[in-house]
Structure formats: C-alpha cells, structure tokens
C-alpha cells in the first residue's frame, strides 16, 4: 500500500473516479493547468483534458449552480471551492436548489462540493472558517469531514457515487501533515459510519476533522495519567452515525465533544442534545463541549491560538469529566 498525505489521497480518489466513470468531471477556479491553489488537481488536465477539468471564472454561484445543472443532465460534477470560505457566494445554490431537488422533484443531484477549511495558519477571518454546521442544518445536504488520508479517499469516492449533494470538507492543516497507508484503486468508505480511532473504557471523545488528531494526543497524555480514553471520529456529520456514538457513550459513561468550529449552534450541540436524549441514563458526568470561542477566526497567531480549541483546553475538560 502506498503512503499518502491527505491531499494525495484526495487527488487519488478524484483520479480513480474520473478513470472509472466518464461522467465525473471537475470544475473550479485555477484547477486546470495550474492544478488548483493547493495542487489537488495537479496533472489532471494532462490526463483528462480541459473538457473534464474546467477552469471557471470567480463565480461560486455559477460553479455550484453549474454543477447542479450538469448533474440534472446526467453528469457527476465535483466542484472545488478554492477555499471553503467562499462557498458563501454559492450558498443559495446549495441550500435552495441542491438541497430541495430530491424532495421536490425526486431527481438526483449527484454533486460534490469540496475544498479546504479550517484555521491554525494565521490566514485570518476569510480563509480559516469551519463552515460545516451551516450545511448540516440544511436537510438535503450530506456533510463529510475526514481526518485521515485513507478515510478521505474512501469517503470522497463514496461522496462522488452518492446520488445526493455532498459537501466535503478538507482541513488544510491536515493536507500535508498526516500521512498513512492508503489502499490503491478501489476503496469505499460508506457515508454515515463513524470510526473508533482509539478504543478506551473511561471516557469518549466524539469529534471530527483536525480535532481527531488533537483528541488522540490528549488520549495518549491521559493514558499516562491512568485514564483509558476512546476517540470516535464521526467522519460524516450528515448522515450522523448515532449507533456508534451512543454505543461508545454507553460503554464509557462519560463524553466530551470537540470540534474546531465555533461553539454556539455548532454540530457538537446536536451531538450533545441527542446523547442527552437517548443515552442519559448511561451518563456519569455532564456532557461537555470543547470548541472555538464564538468569534471570527483572527489572524495574529496569539489571537488565533487563543480562539481555537487547543489540546490543553481539551485535556483540561477531559480531566474534569473524568473526575466528576
């Protein structure tokens, strides 16, 4: 098995699907000869030509709307947002057109909108956002947020083959940081299945995206303190794998939920509410959340580090829950 970064695994999934299915094509800003701002599609135009790797004007509504129309006409578009922050300019297309088409027309809209998200790079308020909760709140959209290269490949393949619109969030801080063995060729990870990335017995950390790696770091440190911490990577927000999460909570009886997105009305609130609703009797401590401070993502490293959830904050919260 080749070793790949998250970014290479995403490229690999796109290339694999484009070779397998002629209907799959890409559109986005600077994605052709230039290979995209992060080089996810480097070399693609050489292999697939400019008809299937389409450079677009800076028109997010046209990119996403165009993808929807192409999907209605039988193709499978994968649209790249240069930064997921700019998805706001195509918001109408996602929440009003894509998300309602199955419901109103019974027609599939097999599009994927993917791109880099997340903070930690001093990129400021407009290149650092975690925007997944907006879309999780819109029925009709699937929301995927991988933490590992192999999952990224398998989930992106599943997203491309899904008949529904799928938003695929790629934390840019993980693009070149995480490396692991990734299956060559076919690799399908179904949407809606969480994964226990570290088993434990005393506490469950429920998380996704970049915070999975911070949770693993925290779990290792707590092991030195004698606590056995389980880390559950939900991998997809919609559909949400309640079974795996509740099963974990029922075994450990303590839960901390963490994500990089801001706290209020974040997806952690949804997980907490459902856990309280369905697994209340199993809990030995209050459900706690660790998320970003409710503010735009600031630029100066001193501010950004203070605003984003850190290993220290997560560690502290886990200790409190363990000691409760």
């Amino acid at each position: 098995m080749p070793t790949m970064t998250l970014l290479q695994a995403i490229s690999d999934a796109l290339r694999y699907e484009m070779r397998r299915d002629e209907r799959v094509f890409l559109l986005g800003e600077d994605i052709a000869e230039f290979g995209g701002a992060f080089k996810v599609t480097k070399g693609f135009v050489e292999e697939f030509g400019k008809q299937r790797v389409i450079n677009t004007p800076i028109s997010e509504a046209a990119i996403i709307g165009g993808a929807i129309g192409a999907a209605l006409n039988g193709l499978i578009p994968v649209a790249e947002m240069q930064f997921m922050d700019f998805i706001t300019n195509g918001f109408n297309q996602l929440v009003n057109v894509a998300a309602t088409t199955a419901y109103r027309w019974g027609l599939p809209v097999p599009i994927v909108v993917r791109g880099p998200v997340g903070g930690g790079m001093s990129a400021g308020p407009f290149h650092s956002r975690s925007a997944e909760a907006w879309f999780a709140h819109t029925p009709g959209l699937k929301v995927v947020f991988p933490a590992f290269p192999a999952d990224a490949k398998g989930l992106l393949i599943a997203a491309i083959r899904d008949p529904n619109p799928v938003l695929f969030f790629e934390h840019k801080g993980l693009y070149r940081k995480i490396r692991e063995d990734v299956p060559e060729g076919e690799h399908f990870v179904p949407l809606g299945k969480a994964r226990i990335v570290r088993p434990g017995t005393d506490l469950s950390i429920i998380t996704y995206g970049r915070m999975v790696h911070i949770a693993l770091e925290v779990a290792a440190r707590l092991e030195d303190e004698g606590a056995s911490v389980e880390v559950v990577d939900i991998r997809t927000l919609v559909p949400f794998d309640e079974a795996t999460v509740f099963d974990s909570v029922q075994r450990t009886n303590r839960v901390v939920i963490t994500h990089e997105a801001t706290l209020t009305a974040g997806f952690g609130a949804e997980i907490a509410a459902r856990t309280a609703d369905k697994a209340f009797e199993y809990l030995d401590a209050p459900i706690r959340r660790v998320a970003a401070f409710d503010a735009p993502v600031p630029m100066a490293p001193s501010l950004e580090q203070a605003m984003l959830p850190s290993a220290e904050k997560l560690l502290d919260t886990c200790r409190q829950v363990l000691e409760y």
Binding site: I68, N96, A102, R104, G106, L107
Partner: protein, 335 residues
Amino acid sequence: MADVVETAEIPAITPTKLLNDQQRVALLRWMLHARIFDEVTIRLYRQGKMFGSVFAQIGHEAISVGSAAVLQPEDAIFPMHRDLGAHFVRGVPLRTIALNHLARQGSMMRGTDGTGHYADPQRKLYGNISHLGAMIPVAVGYALAAQLKGEPIVVLNYIGEGGAQTGEFHEGLNFAAVRKAPFVLIIENNQYAYSTPTTEEYACKKLSDRAIGYGIPGETIDGTDVERVYEATFYAVERARNGEGPSLIEAICMRMRGHAEHDNASYVPRELLEYWKKRDPLLRYQRFLVENGILSEAEIQQMRHEIEAETVRVLDEVLQLPFPPAEEAFKNVFL
C-alpha cells in the same frame, strides 16, 4: 374578455417566413391555453377557491409560447414564473399543470411545492424556484453538460427584468459565454418588478446592451408579437446549436395584472395599461390570423370555448382532490 378588437391602433404583427399556417394556429392555441388558465384561476382566486398565489402571465403569452415553440423535444427549457405558455408548448397536460399548481394528490411534487415549480424530465422542462436568478447558473450547467457529452441540444431559460438584477444572472451568463454553452436567455421585461418600475431597477437603456459586456449577441424585441419572438429565438437557438454560444434576448411586454392576484397594482399608471392593452399579444395575433384568412373569428371563438370548458373542468376536478397524505413530508429528503 373581448375578442378581435377592430382598432387601427393595434400594431401589426411582423410575420416570419419560418412559420406555416398550421404552426400559427398551434401558437394561438397555446397562447389561449395560457390566457384562459389565468382567467379561470383568477376567478377561482376571487371566489376564495384557489390554493396558493396566482401569478398571472397575461401580457407575457407571446414570449413564452413564441420562444418555446422553437425548441426540439430533446432541447431543455427552464421557465420563470410567468411562462405557463411554455408548459403547454412542451405538451404538459392541463391536469398535470393543475395538480402541480394546486399541490394536490398525484402532483409530481407530492405536495412539497406548488405553482409552476415542478420538473418534468421527460419533457425536459425544469421549473423555477422562488429565488429569482437561481436557475440561471443551473440552466447553464445543464447546457454545459450537453456540450461535454457532445449532444446538440439547446437550453432556453427565462428571467424577469427584476431577476436580471441578481448576481446569479451575471455569473450564469458570463460562465455560459466563456464556455460558449448552447444557452439562450430571454429577459421578459414587463416594466415592473412587484411595485418597482424599471427606472429603479437598472440604469442602462436596454438590458440587451449587457450582451456586449459578455461578448455575446443581444437583441431587444417586441415581446407582444409572437412571430417576432419566434424569429428572434429561432436564430439564437440555431446559433447555440451550431456551437457559437449563448445569446441574450430582451422581450418587452407589460404585466397586465398585479404582481400576483392579491395586488391591485394601484402603482401602475392607468395610461400605461391603456397603451399596452392595445398591444395585447393574444388580440394582436388573433387579428393577424383573421386578416390573413388563417382562422375565422368563429373558429377562434370555438377554440376559446373548448379550451375554457376544458380548463374549468380540469381545475374543478383537481380542486376536489385531497392534498397528498402527510407521510409524504418525510420522504425523499435524500435519495
């Protein structure tokens, strides 16, 4: 509604060589269908028997009918909210239209939405959503896919002059132009966006002038002359089919009713309505057909009575139907 009005003030139709008399009769029939659907639903609305809004398209019939009639069955059409005529041209049965409009059991949208918002993929008709402008990029994407697949189809899309002020109008049309997509956009300029007159909507002389900025052909035409609309659309569609890219057509008309039937349009000057009354697309065409011996007044009357009887019957039947069962609300959020 008056029939053929004898008045010299009605401007003549500019006949096109592209149409034969049989096609002309078909155009009239579709325009009558659209007009009568409005008349009947307005009546029902006043009687409190309608469901939802009635966005009458009286004054627009020549645009939707004259342009949709150009298309081949494999071409796709993305109408706006005053294009019922195009639905008839595409062959959607009256009953299907009524079921969708009234969100009754048996509607293609299962009661999830109403009016002309439905899609009929067999007839390659994709309705609008309420958000004005939203369907322009979608229609462009549909055209783009045809281009990628090498299918020689054309996509015809419509927008009001109000909707033409959205960002999606610009993004969609520019993208279509850059890709030379087989796409034709018709702006139905009916002088008002709800209560807002065109002087408060845009500052250019003609909306078709925008075409220059996109590097595509643009033309402003009389949208109440069905043959003029047919001809302009014909050449734009031919151009798109030949791979020469999109065109923009601005068709001028008047919204002869309120924005919807709740609105008495008191903000529209009476003289303006008087002016446009003489340019009623249906009356103009009826007169043309009679003067040229294509149909007699009696034949037109007969056609009108048949369509009216059918429309009343179908709407009455559909209004008796129940709304879809509640469990439909929980289906198809995802496929």
